[in-house]
Amino acid sequence: MSSNMIIGQYVPGNSVIHHLDPRTKITIIFFFVLIVFFANSVMSYGLLTVFSLGSALSTRIPVKYLVKGLTPVWFLILFTFILHLFVTKEGTVLFSILTLDVYSGGLIQGLSLSLRFFLLILVTSLLTLTTTPIAITDAIEDMLGPLKKFRFPVHELALMMSISLRFIPTLMQETEKISKAQASRGVDFKTGPIKDRVKAIVPLLVPLFVSAFKRAEELAMAMEARGYQGGEGRSKLRKLQISRLDIYSFIVFGLVIFGLFLTRS
């Protein structure tokens, strides 16, 4: 697995964006995803690009790390661009490569779509880059709060989310440990025909499931022993609080939306 994949990875920091309330971040990103599709002029794209790059830079996560981390995404963006460049047949012919004509419409379409794609990925990955998984879960629980009125198990859902997030690294470690033990007993995960390699997963998966179930049972027992009984009347260690920073960021984002509709053609 590539270790420089940054989607879903949290990078600790001390920037403004790190300090924002996770609910603010989720709300802004939600609306950003919507308004990206309203941009249709050079100016409006420019505005959104400045906003996203500005936010990315303000997190003080090294640019090199961001660029490298989006490697698999670069490929998709390039692919989108090339596809549109050759497939869209609108406007005037600019030039032709071999027998393929490249139209001006295709160039514009390709550029704007890949830019949209890039902005979407960049801004959404800022959420997970600057927010711990636990904070995201807390925010989701809080934002889904109103659904409790309809007997929707919001707290249980959030608990399930945070437990599964918590155990991802543990299970990864466990996987590595067991695969090493089985490799020592002669299992070959890396070479040989596909059929053998698929079969080699069994000695890995069975112990992994056994230990996952055992862990779940132990966790349930530990929770019960400490008197856990659901969300009713439970106080929080980390209380979500809207601060001045959040209000400022909503104002900035509001201005961006306002500017977007002014610059649209």
């Binding site: 466990e174 033990a181 020592s184 007993r185 002669g186 299992v187 112990p207």
Partner: protein
């Protein structure tokens, strides 16, 4: 099989913000047939070191030679499978690797992977289950129905059935009751002598190291801190305390005795009975002077 480490270094995730030097310039030689204890506190690089022995990790620098196999930094290792058949590794909590529907199949899993014939697997399975002192009736049971101690023994039998020349043990007795610990260690010691194995034991127990090993390697922060015969290494109580290690009780006792009575009784690997006689002689001698 002889084992040689030449200036071996190992770095986790090199050239990244998470770079970590697990081993630094480790060199040593283990002659065939020795019983070596590798000691160090948590995070000293013991586990990384033993993973070099069967090619689970390759050195970032330097060379590891096990028998006729050589693993050099930057080179691909040939015959990895052959190496893994000859070097059996019992990992920490080996019962976590059990997966087959019955004990017999699980013990036979290793040999099957290495292409051992069916008849021979049957023979080795029985031999292995006897070696770990479990009744043969267990062979038909599911490994998940056994007790923790029995599971541990089955997992160990699974490694023994590969009939390795080198046996690598990573804290094989962790989490067992005292009697189980004693039995398992005695079993490894017996196998070591009977089958003329080369044994590498990673342990926290100084008592085990003193009792079974004929060579001790002490690691500290990925570097070799000390090496030698147990009776030479363990007398350096002060140095060992500095790297957060204890010395065996016998030596602690002798050092305290020297402080209290001012009499030095040198330790040279004598048994408890022998030591008692020597002590008696020393104490009586003192009384005689008074």
């Amino acid at each position: 099989m002889d084992i040689t480490f030449q200036d071996v270094s190992y770095i986790y995730q090199p050239n990244s913000p998470f770079e970590f030097r697990a081993l630094e310039d480790i060199s040593f030689h283990i002659p065939s047939g020795s019983f070596v204890a590798v000691i160090g506190h948590t995070g000293s690089g013991k586990s990384t070191l033993i993973q070099h022995l069967n090619g689970l990790v390759r050195p970032t620098n330097g060379e590891v030679i096990v028998g006729s196999h050589s693993m050099k930094a930057g080179e691909k290792t040939k015959d990895l499978k052959d190496l893994r058949e000859k070097v059996g590794v019992v990992f920490q909590y080996p019962e976590h690797q059990l997966f087959e529907e019955n004990v017999e199949k699980d013990i036979g899993f290793g040999p099957l992977n290495f292409g051992v014939k069916e008849e021979e697997i049957k023979r080795r399975t029985r031999e292995a289950i006897q070696a770990v002192q479990l009744p043969e009736e267990l062979l038909d049971r599911s490994p998940f129905d056994l007790s923790g101690g029995q599971m541990r023994r089955v997992a160990i039998a699974g490694v023994l059935a590969m009939s390795p020349d080198v046996l690598v043990l990573d804290e094989p007795t962790a989490g067992l009751d005292p009697r189980g610990q004693r039995e398992i260690m005695e079993m490894f010691h017996r196998l070591h002598k009977e089958k003329r194995l080369t044994t590498v034991l990673v342990t926290h127990s100084m008592e085990d190291a003193l009792r079974y090993a004929d060579h001790v390697i002490i690691l500290n922060h990925g570097k070799k801190f000390m090496e030698g015969q147990p009776k030479e290494v363990f007398v350096n109580e002060k140095e060992l305390r500095e790297v957060q290690l204890d010395v065996p009780e016998v030596i602690q006792f002798l050092n305290k005795l020297e402080q209290r009575l001012g009499k030095k009784v040198p330790y040279h690997g004598q048994t408890i009975t022998q030591l008692a006689k020597e002590l008696a002689a020393v104490v009586k001698g003192r009384e005689a002077h008074e």
